[in-house]
């Protein structure tokens, strides 16, 4: 008898932790870790809504599947970029990659 609100609070907390990681970590890879956490929180949210709504309407899970695919694609490309930048600039510190600075 878990109320839906508990799942929603849980996913909100997970999302906020991921956000904190994205905003505060120095290492670029660590930022990507934070992004992963955020995506996972979204998936939890979707699954919770599926379960607590009409179970036969499988759209919630489909959405989550698609999110999986997108997350996978995104992380692979992101890490490839980080590696490429590391090769070029010899650093993975996000603050050092400031070529868009004025």
């Amino acid at each position: 008898m878990v109320p839906l609100s508990w799942y929603l609070i849980f996913s909100a907390a997970l999302f906020s932790i991921g956000l904190f990681g994205v905003l505060s970590r120095r290492n670029a890879v660590a930022i990507l870790l934070g992004i992963e956490l955020m995506l996972n929180s979204v998936n939890v949210n979707l699954a919770a809504f599926w379960r607590y709504g009409n179970v036969t309407d499988i759209a919630g899970q489909v959405f989550a599947i698609i999110v999986f695919a997108v997350a996978a694609a995104e992380v692979s490309v992101g890490l490839a970029l980080v590696i490429s930048i590391y090769r070029k600039r010899n650093t993975v510190i996000a603050d050092d990659i400031d070529m868009l600075k004025f």
Binding site: L19, V22, L23, A94, D95, I97, D98, L100, K101, F102
Partner: protein, 711 residues
């Protein structure tokens, strides 16, 4: 066509000729003179037709040919202009048309039409002759005038001015014609503008007549302000004349009519070269001889007398004005005659003679001899034109001699270089003789006798001092005329040039012959009724016809033997003495009458120069030019330049630079720069900070949406 329409058309051909020649045919000499002579001929035909119709009308003075149109709106009324042919106009048209036509024909020959162009002739200088090869050897012949067409254009304009003046029915168009003739006299006296003497003479003529014209304009304005009209028929109505005579003008005891008349008369003093404005006429001999004939015989000076005759009803209202007129006329007649005695230039003698004869006419008007003055005007036009054209013929003959000998130092116009020309130039001689006799008043056969006699008769009857003055002047006139004829034609040639003189072509001699017919015959129309033997045979047509112009027909004088005897004595005596004295005079040193102050015209030119010309020139230079124009007006203008610059500088330094350049221009640039500089710190290049910024914004918007919009 009705007479009125024809009258309107009379001045038209000459002005058309002027425009056509000036605009189109200036290069073609033959076409130009054809247009000119053709125009004169058309005006002549028109004038003759009008004249014939006019003399057929009973009582033309009471019922003249009139036609007028509304021309200038003046408030509720109109100023009308138009044409008027009463007896005075008709006889004036007659002599003007004839003399103008003769002068036009004469000009063709005078300016050597048909001759080759000169060797080194310039426009603006008299022609000097062309060298032609003939039978193996060269000789110099007279050359055609380079500005041939221009001459015909100008005399066409001149004729237009005169015809306009004669046919006009109001003072305004009369004045217009007057001024046009003034302009043309300037243009024609200065025709050979390359000569400084001609230029100076032209300016002198214009200036002097202008002095008279200013007073005349004042008179016209005064008349208009008092009567409200300028039309002759309205001015000379009984009531208007009475009013004008009654109101005193407040100036020196003249009545209004007298003052107006005096002012208008001063215009005539200028135009007809009466003392003291006579100085321009002798100098005007610088122009070509047809011009002298036109201006000083037929038209311009006659216009002055015509104007006074026209205004006679007005002038006769005031006795003071009339006595001034008579005095000036008589004085001028004597004064000019004395100067003519000592002149050696053939044209100058005639110039002073013109002044003197005009004095006769003015004096006649001054004593009230209306018909006599008009009669003398008519006869004088004919014989003076004849004399001038004759002198031109003489000069032409002498110039032929000068070209033959090649000695250009000889003055072809000096009478002492002439002599014996009666054999070389017979037609010229006989016509000149007739003209000279007419001028002197040779009894019975010449027109001058009849007209001069009538003036003397009137003078004797009304005003004895005038009579004596005019009689002395008549004697002097006959004397200097015979002097002129003797020196020029009689005796033997005194120089080589005179020996080689030749008669002039038919275009010049034909007008002489025609004019001499009038000089002789015209007088017989005015034989007084009570003349012994001849009087009564032929009715005094002039007296009847011209006298009808006035409201009251002037009465014919009773005959008196004294004036007749006087005129016979002075005429014949003068002629005889002149011949006797000058028969054997061969050079100017032998001439006893070459008295200094006579030769130098009583030094009037010098007096005027010192009294008027030099002060005015000084005033114009120092006061008007230096002080007023350069100092004052230029000073104001010079204020504008720096002033504008000052304003410009002020605006630039106090508004443009600080406000627009610095505050707005530089200010906005600096503000943008400053804000850019301050804001650029946002762009750190660190994506985490960008994310934070985006998140903050998102949270803010989300909060606003949640709490305010969606609540």
């Amino acid at each position: 066509m009705t007479t009125e329409t024809l009258i309107w058309l009379i001045p038209l051909p000459p002005i058309l000729a002027f425009f056509l020649i000036v605009l189109f045919t200036n290069r073609n000499k033959a076409l130009s003179h054809s247009i000119g002579v053709g125009a004169a001929l058309l005006s002549w035909i028109g004038s003759m037709v009008v004249f014939v119709r006019a003399i057929g009308v009973e009582n033309l003075g009471k019922t003249p040919f009139v036609s007028s149109i509304n021309w200038l709106p003046t408030g509720d009324t109109w100023l009308r202009i138009g044409v008027l042919v009463d007896p005075l106009t008709a006889v004036t048209l007659f002599f003007v048309a004839w003399t103008v036509l003769m002068i036009f024909i004469y000009s063709v020959g005078y300016h050597n039409f048909g001759q080759p162009e000169g060797d080194h002739d310039h426009k603006g200088l008299p022609p000097h002759g062309a060298t032609v090869e003939e039978h193996g050897h060269k000789h110099v012949v007279p050359s055609i005038e380079p500005m041939y067409s221009r001459f015909f254009a100008f005399i066409g304009l001149f004729a237009f001015g005169m015809f306009t003046l004669v046919v006009s029915d109001n003072l305004l168009t009369l004045f217009v014609g007057w001024e046009i003739m003034g302009l043309c006299s300037y243009l024609l006296i200065g025709f050979w503008y390359g000569k400084k003497s001609a230029r100076d003479a032209a300016i002198k003529a214009f200036m002097t007549t202008r002095v008279g014209d200013v007073f005349m304009l004042l008179g016209i304005a005064y008349l208009y302000s008092v009567t409200g009209t300028l039309s002759f028929r309205e001015i000379f109505s009984e009531t208007t004349l009475h009013t004008l005579a009654a109101i005193p003008s407040g100036v020196l005891g003249f009545s209004t009519a007298g003052l107006i008349g005096l002012l208008l008369f001063i215009g005539t003093v200028g135009k007809s070269a009466q003392f003291p404005l006579h100085v321009w006429l002798p100098d005007a001999m610088e122009g070509p001889t047809p011009v002298s004939a036109m201006i000083h015989a037929a038209t311009m000076v006659s216009a002055g007398v015509y104007a006074v005759i026209r205004m006679f009803p007005l002038l006769s209202l005031d006795a003071q004005t009339m006595s001034i007129v008579a005095f000036i006329g008589a004085f001028t007649a004597l004064f000019a005659a004395t100067i003519a005695l000592a002149q050696n230039d053939i044209k100058r003698v005639l110039a002073y003679s013109t002044i003197s004869q005009l004095g006769y006419m003015i004096a006649a008007l001054g004593i009230g001899a209306y018909v006599a003055a008009a009669f003398h005007l008519m006869t004088h036009a004919f014989f003076k034109a004849l004399l001038f054209l004759g002198s031109g013929s003489v000069i032409h003959g002498m110039e032929h001699g000068v070209l033959h000998t090649g000695n250009h130092k000889v003055d072809p116009q000096d009478m002492f270089n002439m002599g014996g020309l009666r054999n070389k130039m017979p037609i010229t001689f006989w016509t000149f003789l007739l003209g000279g006799f007419a001028l002197s008043g040779f009894p019975l056969i010449t027109a001058g006798f009849w007209s001069k006699d009538e003036i003397l008769a009137d003078a004797f009857a009304h005003n004895l001092p005038v009579f004596i003055t005019l009689a002395i002047a008549a004697f002097l006139t006959a004397f200097y005329t015979m002097r002129q004829i003797t020196l020029t034609f009689l005796g033997e040639p005194r120089t080589e040039e005179a020996k080689h003189a030749q008669e002039t072509p038919w275009t010049m001699t034909l007008p002489l012959i025609v004019l001499s017919v009038f000089a002789v015959g015209y007088g017989w129309l005015g034989i007084p009724e009570h003349f012994p033997v001849l009087g009564g045979l032929v009715p005094n047509w002039i007296h009847e016809f011209v006298g009808g112009t006035l409201a009251e027909h002037p009465e014919a004088l009773d005959f008196n033997i004294v004036p007749l005897l006087t005129s016979l004595v002075v005429a014949l005596g003068g002629l005889g003495l002149g011949y006797l004295f000058y028969r054997n005079v061969n050079s100017s040193t032998e001439d006893k009458l070459q008295i200094g102050f006579l030769k130098n015209k009583y030094y009037f030119d010098e007096i005027y120069d010192v009294v008027f010309i030099k002060p005015v020139t000084w005033f114009a230079d120092k006061v008007v030019y230096q002080i007023m124009d350069k100092g004052f007006i230029d000073g104001i203008l010079h204020l504008f330049g720096p002033g504008t610059q000052g304003i410009g500088d002020t605006i630039r330094n106090y508004f443009d630079l600080p406000v627009i350049n610095r505050f707005l221009g530089d200010g906005s640039a600096n503000a943008t720069y400053w804000s850019g500089e301050k804001l650029r710190v946002v762009q750190t290049g660190r994506i985490q900070q960008y994310l934070m910024l985006g998140l903050i914004l998102f949270l803010a918007i989300g909060a606003i949406l949640y709490f305010f919009v969606l609540a």
